[in-house]
């Protein structure tokens, strides 16, 4: 198959390098003697793009291609979603509500979640966090909405 690990890796680095390069051009380059803020980023981005190209070519030309491992969508989507929701809710809905969502959604990112366990674990974890982080360490977190 064409889309091997190296293919994607090379492509990724080329794109990132190019992006870095384009953005770096907007900053003052200066001279080697008096480097502007754009100089070093430009150098690095150029290097990244070059490396990306080499990796990409390797990926296309080489006979031994490491195929892309199967992407399981559930773990990555649910974990990312859970943390993101937590970040949105923690200041608006309070710690307890956001933890409920984090633990609830996060637990189901794995294949073996059992709802009874999730509930017990959730209660235990929330109690622990409230005790340690709010009362112990005194993080400025609101517990409940409003």
């Amino acid at each position: 198959m064409l889309i091997s690990k190296d293919f994607l890796a090379g492509l990724t680095f080329m794109v990132l390098g190019l992006a870095g390069l384009i953005i770096a051009r907007q900053y003052d380059m200066g001279t080697p003697r008096m480097m502007g803020p754009g100089y070093f980023p430009w150098l690095l981005s150029a290097g990244l793009m070059l490396l990306g190209a080499v990796i990409f070519v390797q990926g296309v030309a080489s006979k031994a291609r490491e195929p892309l491992e199967k992407i399981h969508w559930r773990p990555v989507t649910l974990v990312t979603l859970a943390i993101f929701l937590f970040s949105v809710l923690i200041e608006r809905a309070g710690l307890i509500a956001s933890l409920v969502l984090l633990i609830g959604i996060g637990s189901y990112a794995g294949k073996e979640a059992r709802w009874r366990e999730v509930v017990i674990l959730g209660v235990a974890l929330i109690a622990f966090c409230v005790a340690v982080f709010v009362y112990g360490v005194k993080l400025p977190l609101t517990l409940l909405p409003g």
Partner: protein
């Protein structure tokens, strides 16, 4: 010398530091035992907590986690054939075979005693060699620093696993990410996309937690769980024969580990592998390796502990972290406003000597607590991952918030978790990225200064002996990977690990 040691002891033996040393060592052993969570992720998770601690205490605890994990990792390797920590992979080979032969206790004891010996020796080496090294480091010019960092980054890549080209690319990406924020020289904002939260740069803790903590969790969830069956422990004390056969491997492992640990990219993992290979080559009965040869446990276990400790030397003397884990320690120091480098020894002698002494104390604690607690560790292995990882998620999320009271940082954790997962899928290790991230600003500063001092003359990097030395070494290392014969040899070393 004696004054320094006394200072070190007085700092290390304070109640708070003793407690956190113990806590770190215990935690380290715990996560070393539990597969699916390693010292990198744990250190990343605990970084926010270190905020509330003294800098010394923070470092003492984090260091404890590192070498504690080496002790803990051997337990699972021997009993369950699952490496709890990456450097314990080698111990699985012979350690588990010994366990199957009913000699788990002996293997565990040999591992613990060998590790303790190595820990003592490594501490002694640190005490003897860090002052002169720091002295040399003070004479470093910006060009020397640049050359050293290039060497360090190249070495970290070459000695690491996986495709070197991709690792270099990750390093460069890390360097770029390290530059995000406000440029010190000009005051301009770079790569911030107008986001005010990025004005001070990407929060290191969030990046680390996302890449290592969350990324690892996502990868683990994909794999599904494995049934954990532990062997019985049996007689705890090794036989006289075991002692006789282990003595030389322990000594060799310690020396090898101490040397390899100091190298950039070195540390526990490389040392353990090298020691196993060495012992197999030197043994009169190499066919026994893989079948329960006690030398295959004694050597690598000593090496990994020595390597873990001496990998602190470049950080404490030159201010340059040699591997991702020590880079986290550098991050922790910077969080407390301490710039790692040769001045640390002079300006913060309490921190410096206290840390070194506490490493020895930690080793002692580990020896004493580990052997009796092995039964407990084994029982803990039965905790299913599906209960463990939500807890890790929670601590990461709250921890990320705690650093700056910023929900943006939590979002960063989520983002870098997904990014870390993506990179693992395309075959790029996240560890080199962290190294680049930590070194980015420092590298740019020295690079700028070098060219400023030389008035734009690029040959300045090839003028001072030190910088020529490091650049040549870096070039040699690069050649090593490019030469096909060397490439094969390197692949073989890592292939042994995969099997």
């Amino acid at each position: 010398m004696l004054d320094n040691l006394l200072l070190g002891f007085s700092v290390a033996l304070s109640g708070v530091n003793l407690f956190f040393c113990f806590l770190g060592a215990l935690l380290g052993t715990l996560i070393g035992v539990l597969p699916g969570i390693g010292p990198l992720a744990t250190v990343a998770m605990l970084l926010p907590i270190t905020f509330y601690l003294d800098p010394v205490t923070a470092l003492v605890m984090l260091a404890g986690i590192y070498y504690g994990a080496q002790y803990g990792g051997s337990t699972t390797s021997i009993l369950v054939n699952l490496p709890g920590e990456s450097s314990s992979v080698v111990t699985c080979l012979d350690g588990h075979q010994m366990a199957k032969q009913g000699r788990a206790g002996a293997a565990l004891a040999v591992a613990a005693l060998g590790s303790f010996f190595a820990g003592c020796a490594a501490t002694l080496l640190m005490i003897l060699f860090t002052p002169p090294l720091a002295g040399i480091a003070e004479r470093f010019q910006p060009t020397d620093y640049c050359a050293l960092m290039v060497f360090g980054l190249v070495a970290a890549v070459v000695l690491a696993q996986g495709s070197p080209l991709k690792a270099v690319a990750m390093v460069i990406l890390g360097l770029l990410l390290g530059l995000v924020g406000t440029d010190v020289n000009s005051g301009d904002r770079r790569y911030t996309f107008g986001l005010i939260h990025l004005a001070d740069g990407i929060e290191f803790v969030a990046l680390a937690m996302g890449l290592f903590g969350i990324g690892e969790i996502i990868s683990n969830l994909e794999k599904g769980s494995t049934r954990i069956v532990a062997e019985k422990i049996g007689r705890l004390w090794p036989t006289r024969e075991d002692f006789r056969r282990s003595a030389a491997p322990v000594l060799r492992g310690t020396i090898l580990g101490s040397l390899l640990g100091v190298l950039p990219g070195g540390g526990a993992l490389l040392s353990a592998f090298a020691s196993y290979t060495l012992e197999k080559k030197l043994s009169r009965t190499p066919e026994q390796f893989g079948r329960g040869a006690v030398e295959g446990v004694a050597g690598p276990e000593s090496a990994n502990n020595a390597g873990a400790q001496t990998s602190f030397i470049p950080l404490l003397t030159l201010g340059i972290p040699g591997n991702a884990l020590v880079a986290m320690m550098a991050g922790a120091m910077m969080i407390h406003g301490i710039q790692p480098g040769p001045e640390v020894m002079v300006k913060q002698p309490g921190l410096f000597w206290g840390l070194i002494v506490s490493m020895w104390i930690g080793n002692l604690m580990l020896l004493v607590i580990n052997l009796p607690l092995i039964g407990v560790w084994v029982r803990l292995l039965r905790v299913p991952y599906r209960l463990l990882f939500p807890a890790i998620l929670t601590f990461c999320a709250i921890g990320a918030y705690g650093v700056n009271n910023s929900t943006f940082d939590i979002g960063l954790v989520a983002l870098f978790g997904a990014i870390g997962y993506y990179f693992i899928k395309i075959g790029c290790e996240p560890a080199p990225l962290i190294l680049g991230f930590i070194l980015g600003p420092l590298f740019e500063e020295n690079f700028r200064r070098s060219l400023l001092l030389s008035r734009g003359d690029w040959s300045t990097f090839f003028q001072r002996p030190l910088s020529i030395f490091f650049l040549t070494l870096a070039a040699l290392l690069l050649a090593l990977i490019i030469l096909p014969s060397m490439r094969k040899a390197r692949e073989n070393v890592f292939a042994e690990e995969q099997s």
